[in-house]
Symmetry: C2
Subunit: 324 residues, 2 copies
DNA sequence: CTGAAAGCGCTTACAG
DNA sequence: CTGAAAGCGCTTACAG
């Protein structure tokens, strides 16, 4: 229709330089008129480019992952890339390696548990990005989980708390995730630095969920020597913790302080003191870094984003009559 | 390596019947040894099948959409299909029609506002599924929003409320979504049937967010004649409403009742009376219906899923001294 | 049951 | 600046 060869059409449509303006105009006009869309399969097969990145996430309904995904998608969309989403609940997705040869890059929002799997990922032959962990050869975006947790616990210590419990993200699932471990390390570091003895019974697995937070809190409240403060590794679990505290007839922060992690959109509603982390931004940055690698062959980089202590109403000095 | 032609490899690997068992075994062994993966581009180009469905959603961090997406992904994954995710905040994604010729089907979690766009979708030439609206030719999964809202408002009326406000999902955005309209209709229907006069100032836009809910509630509470109950079109907004009520020094449900919609995972924590809808299931069902069409050429079907009134602690009879 | 061959719809050196 | 042609890696009638 534009009286040119398919090669020229291809060049014109992709905006390559070596096409005369009048030819390009003619091609574009015809393309519009025919409502033409290039076949991605054919294009990929011929060029080797997929214009797609695969994202593997263990969850999608949890605030942090949803926000990260949001950031990734926005960035990819504006770069004209598609996002193929894989929700991998049990960390077994790599056995199928479904996205192999289908994507230009893979973004891992969590790491599969087994080290061999990590090898598999590397063997995908495409750039890999990871969130929350810095792995050699991967593009990654992280926060300083150790220091952030330490900051949270120091806030409690600074107010006079000595008996501080921790509700952790899930560590027993088949999915391994570095942040829970690092936040645990930060918690212990803060206590140790303050000369406070570590008590294993004060560390309870909250299974990453609201319900898990409720159960973990119930367990902590039933301890013979009840803690005066709880550091919770995610805001969602913290909401569950607050619920249990309220139902037990205790007041927060008068009887017991609670500090979360995330700055979930509902943290403000719960008046929850927490450590804010930029979830959306982490996703966007990770996407940008991986695109730079795919598009321009930039080297893999690691970026650490800052966190911030947000003091609200769920933390206060411990009750004076504690430990009587 | 298996001493067979590429055609036979193709047949063997895809499990087609006309391959001898020993040949198939040889091919599979070689395929394993070489760590062979078929090229999706080449496969798609040759067969015309993409094994991919595109999903367009306006949000991903909102509970309902995240759950729906979860259901869709699970179903697609077990069918060996990939999910390409498009987050379309402003309803303008169709102008780019990015997924055209790339997916076997498109799932719309919300509808673009302009009717012409709907035409475009139909012109994609692939099966389309929609959530929450039943459009001729589309596969769809819905709930009865009118009846569900009516049920919620009747619950309030049954307890003696006569001054009932409504906080709506966003209707002004460039994205049109049927449920807000239907829930509004159900609200009005319930009031009218009970012989209660409709008061326009009692309908406030909550913009679909927690913050919007807070603002909407503030507006309602400042009304000269304050409502005794509020029907909120989503649990997330209801949480914001509860927050405002609490901060205004009012008690829920003693001073004012609140009923939500969704049965969000935190509804229980807020002790929120609400209308439960099966979000995950709606997604899974929608995916199953579209797969049946893609895979077996089944006709487009519409399924309506049930909702359920969950009575918790945020609704009670109005204060006796009302309207004095 | 298996192979040879065409073809899917592009992109990309290579000439000119 | 443009065209002819090869080739990307599969799938699928068509023979045999």
């Amino acid at each position: 229709m534009a009286k040119v060869s398919s090669g020229t059409v291809s060049r014109a449509l992709r905006g390559l330089p070596n096409v005369s303006e009048k030819t390009r105009a003619r091609v574009l006009a015809a393309s519009q008129a025919l409502n033409y869309i290039v076949s991605p399969s054919a294009s990929s097969l011929a060029s080797g480019r997929m214009s797609t990145v695969g994202v593997i996430t263990p969850f999608i309904s949890r605030w942090f992952f949803a926000e990260v995904l949001n950031g990734i998608e926005q960035e990819l969309q504006s770069a004209g890339f598609d996002l193929v989403l894989y929700i991998d609940t049990d960390g077994k997705l790599f056995e199928k390696l479904p996205m192999r040869r289908r994507v230009d890059a893979v973004l891992l929002l969590t790491l599969p548990s087994d080290v061999p799997d990590v090898e598999d990922v590397i063997n995908l032959g495409v750039p890999v990005g990871s969130l929350g962990v810095d792995i050699p050869g991967f593009s990654s975006v992280t926060i300083d989980d150790v220091a952030s947790a330490e900051m949270a616990v120091n806030h409690l210590i600074g107010m006079g708390h000595r008996s501080i419990a921790m509700v952790t993200l899930d560590k027993e699932s088949s999915i391994s995730f570095q942040p829970p471990l690092d936040r645990g390390a930060g918690y212990r570091k803060a206590l140790t630095n303050a000369g406070i003895e570590l008590r294993p019974e004060l560390e309870v697995n909250g299974r990453s969920t609201v319900e898990g937070g409720e159960l973990a809190a119930a367990q902590l409240l039933s301890l013979p020597s009840r803690p005066t403060a709880i550091f919770v590794q995610s805001d969602e679990m913290a909401m569950g913790v607050l619920h249990t505290i309220r139902r037990a007839g205790l007041r927060c922060p008068e009887d017991i302080s609670v500090i979360g992690f995330d700055d979930h959109q509902l943290a403000r509603v719960f008046d929850l003191t927490t450590v804010a982390q930029p979830a959306f931004q982490q996703g966007a940055l990770l996407a940008r870094q991986i695109l730079a690698r795919v598009l321009h062959g930039d080297p893999a980089t690691t970026t650490e984003l800052p966190t911030q202590l947000i003091i609200r109403g769920t933390t206060a000095p411990p009750p004076t009559h504690q430990l009587r």
